[in-house]
């Protein structure tokens, strides 16, 4: 006969409530593991899906994600002739936030070369890829932009033609893919007011510099203000020929004066060490505190449940129950609480994780680790109750 089951059967509502409470706490513990995994996944999502072997950026910068990097787009041609390079393609990445249909639309813009496809969307879950040089985009489903939506950015309208799933920037912002030219235009082309303003400023500057040649200064000012340098990229992505050592090619490019080249592995390390490391430490601390809180709460519940049973425990001792029966009663109730709460945590998590603002990626390993932790916590938490139960004198059963 299992005493724990029979005791819990008496007040199922209260026990269920305790399980739900502890379960929600465990949901948080599990969520923080998932949040950390989400950080890592998002930080590496664009890198892993780019198809690139090397990332060439402005010298001594950690671009294009961890830090700003700017270099001329035509560097691609210089890279293309490096031995071992199969394809070189300019790449643009930046974040924008625009008001749109009464909400704030924040997205990470990725501009890529349509011909090579390097850095572009690899898995389109709905619709199609970009098929023309201008005015089309592929958006992540998290942006809530259905296919056919027209998005006004800069001076033009762009139509959503395809959707990706789970493509985020390291900041958790969903990604929208544009052609390289469109991404450059959205970033650099000014509207009419900005052009007029810049013309005025440039005219004033040239008039001061060339006070005797007003016509020339006017022409120079117009040229400066009306022709922004569109042909800038944040990185050049390189795909290598099969079997080529990426580190050796990166070293070779690194010897040039103006560029730094990272292998995809180095680029990933830059992201993890930069943006994710702090988040990792933060979530680890949260997990430690939450685990401690769960331990204290389970211990408190089990201790209270034990206190309520001191009379039956004394009776059991009086009729000769061995200590293992008493320990078993307390420990089994503690484990039942922990394991039911664990199942609650798994269920609540599976129902809610896709509704969290940022990606929560709980893996099987996290679930197994939590299970081991829960068993450990329950054993630890029941220690106080067991100690109290074993100290009960059989004679206590005789008192009223």
């Amino acid at each position: 006969m299992n005493l724990a089951v029979r005791d819990l059967r008496r007040r199922p509502g209260r026990f269920a409530l305790s399980c739900v409470g502890v379960g929600l706490l465990l949901t948080l513990v599990l969520s923080y593991s998932g949040i950390y995994n989400g950080f890592v996944y998002e930080a590496l999502a664009l890198i892993n899906r780019s198809g690139a072997d090397l990332w060439v950026v402005q010298r001594d910068t950690r671009g294009p994600f961890a830090e700003q990097s700017r270099l001329p787009q035509d560097v691609r041609y210089r890279m293309a002739i490096v031995p071992g390079v199969a394809a070189a393609s300019p790449y643009i990445f930046y974040l924008i936030q625009r008001p749109w249909q009464g909400r704030s639309l924040r997205l990470a813009v990725v501009g890529y070369d349509l011909h090579s496809g390097l850095g572009g969307p690899t898995e389109i879950v709905s619709g199609r890829g970009i098929a023309q040089a201008h005015y089309e985009l592929v958006a992540d489903v998290k942006l809530n932009l259905p296919i056919g939506t027209k998005l006004h950015l800069g001076l033009n309208d762009y139509t959503v033609v395809g959707l990706t799933h789970g493509v985020m920037s390291s900041s958790g912002d969903p990604v929208a893919f544009f052609s390289l030219a469109d991404a450059q235009e959205i970033q650099f082309v000014k509207d009419n007011w900005a052009i007029r303003d810049l013309r005025e400023r440039a005219s004033a500057a040239y008039r001061n510099a060339l006070p005797t040649q007003p016509t020339l200064s006017q022409q120079l000012a117009s040229k400066f203000a009306d022709n922004p340098d569109l042909h800038t990229a944040n990185a050049i992505l390189i795909r290598l020929d099969p079997g080529v050592d990426s580190r050796a090619v990166a070293e070779q490019i690194g010897r040039w004066k103006y560029f730094t080249a990272y292998t995809t592995e180095q680029q990933s390390q830059l992201m993890l060490a930069g943006t994710v490391e702090r988040g990792r430490r933060q979530t680890l601390l949260f997990r430690i505190f939450l685990t401690l809180a769960a331990t204290v709460i389970i211990a408190q519940i089990i201790y209270t449940m034990t206190l309520e049973k001191l009379k039956p425990i004394a009776l059991l001792k009086l009729i000769g129950a061995p200590n293992r029966t008493i320990v078993g009663l307390v420990l089994q109730e503690s484990l039942a609480l922990g394991l039911i709460a664990y199942v609650v945590a798994l269920l609540v998590g599976s129902w809610t994780y896709d509704k969290w603002p940022r990606l929560v990626l709980v893996q099987t390993t996290d679930k197994l680790i939590l299970l081991v932790m829960v068993v450990g916590i329950c054993i630890l938490a029941s220690a106080m109750g067991v100690r109290r139960a074993l100290r009960v004198e059989p004679g206590a059963a005789l008192t009223g």
């Binding site: 029979r6 009086l318 000769g320 029966t325 004198e393 004679g395 059963a397």
Partner: protein, 227 residues
């Protein structure tokens, strides 16, 4: 056959100026099939005497022998008292004496399980005992759903579960009305005869002493033979 022998048992609570002698040089004998009463007013030391016999309270001096085994001898005590109680003693108290989260049947089954009897044999014994005590139809009820008399009968069934040599009853009729009290005492007499157990019953109710084979009087810790 002699199953309980108490020799010069003394129990002193506290020490020095605050020392209180609850039982003083007590001697008691109970034989199998015998119904023994320990009679005395409240605070006279009778419960201390009973709990000393059971090993719940450790005597200060003297000797306790149960079923031929010395459980206490002037400071020495048997190693595994829990096991000894499980195998030789049955307990019945005035109230709050059933495990409240177990049904009547489960209370009896629990005692059997502790005694090493499990499975269908345990179920059969529990059923027989509850039927014998007239509460077979109430076996699925929790203690809170039973009357005081029914609870006491279930407690008796539990005490009898492992066929103990000695049944120790502490004020078993105190929470019952006269009619039910007499009914319980009649049961004890029947059990003592039929099960060949020694029943030692502590009571302060002199109305219940009829039918006892042996009566010990306790007053201010002193135990005397006879009413």
């Amino acid at each position: 056959m002699e199953v309980v022998r108490i020799e010069n048992l003394t129990k002193v609570y506290g020490s020095g100026k605050t020392a209180v002698t609850a039982v003083r040089e007590a001697n008691l004998v109970a034989r199998s099939g015998e119904l023994v009463a320990i009679l005395g007013p409240s605070g006279s030391g009778k419960t201390t005497l009973l709990t000393s016999i059971a090993g719940i309270v450790e005597p200060t001096s003297g000797r306790v022998t149960i079923g031929g085994v010395t459980t206490y001898d002037n400071g020495w005590k048997v190693r595994d008292l829990s096991r000894f109680r499980r195998e030789h003693l049955g307990f019945i108290f005035q109230s709050h004496n059933l495990i409240d989260f177990l049904t009547a049947r489960e209370n009896v089954l629990m005692a059997l399980q502790i005694g090493g009897v499990v499975g269908s044999a345990a179920v059969r014994i529990a059923q027989e005992l509850l039927d014998y005590l007239g509460v077979g139809e109430r076996q699925g009820h929790l203690p809170e759903q039973l009357s005081g008399g029914e609870q006491q009968r279930v407690a008796i069934a539990r005490a009898l579960a492992n066929s103990p040599q000695v049944i120790l009853a502490d004020e078993p009729t105190a929470a019952l009305d006269t009619e039910r009290g007499e009914s319980v005492m009649a049961l004890f007499r029947g059990i003592a005869r039929e099960k060949s157990s020694a029943v030692i019953c502590v009571t302060h109710d002199s109305r219940m002493i009829e039918g006892f084979d042996h009566i010990y009087q306790v007053k201010d810790g002193l135990v005397s033979d006879g009413p």
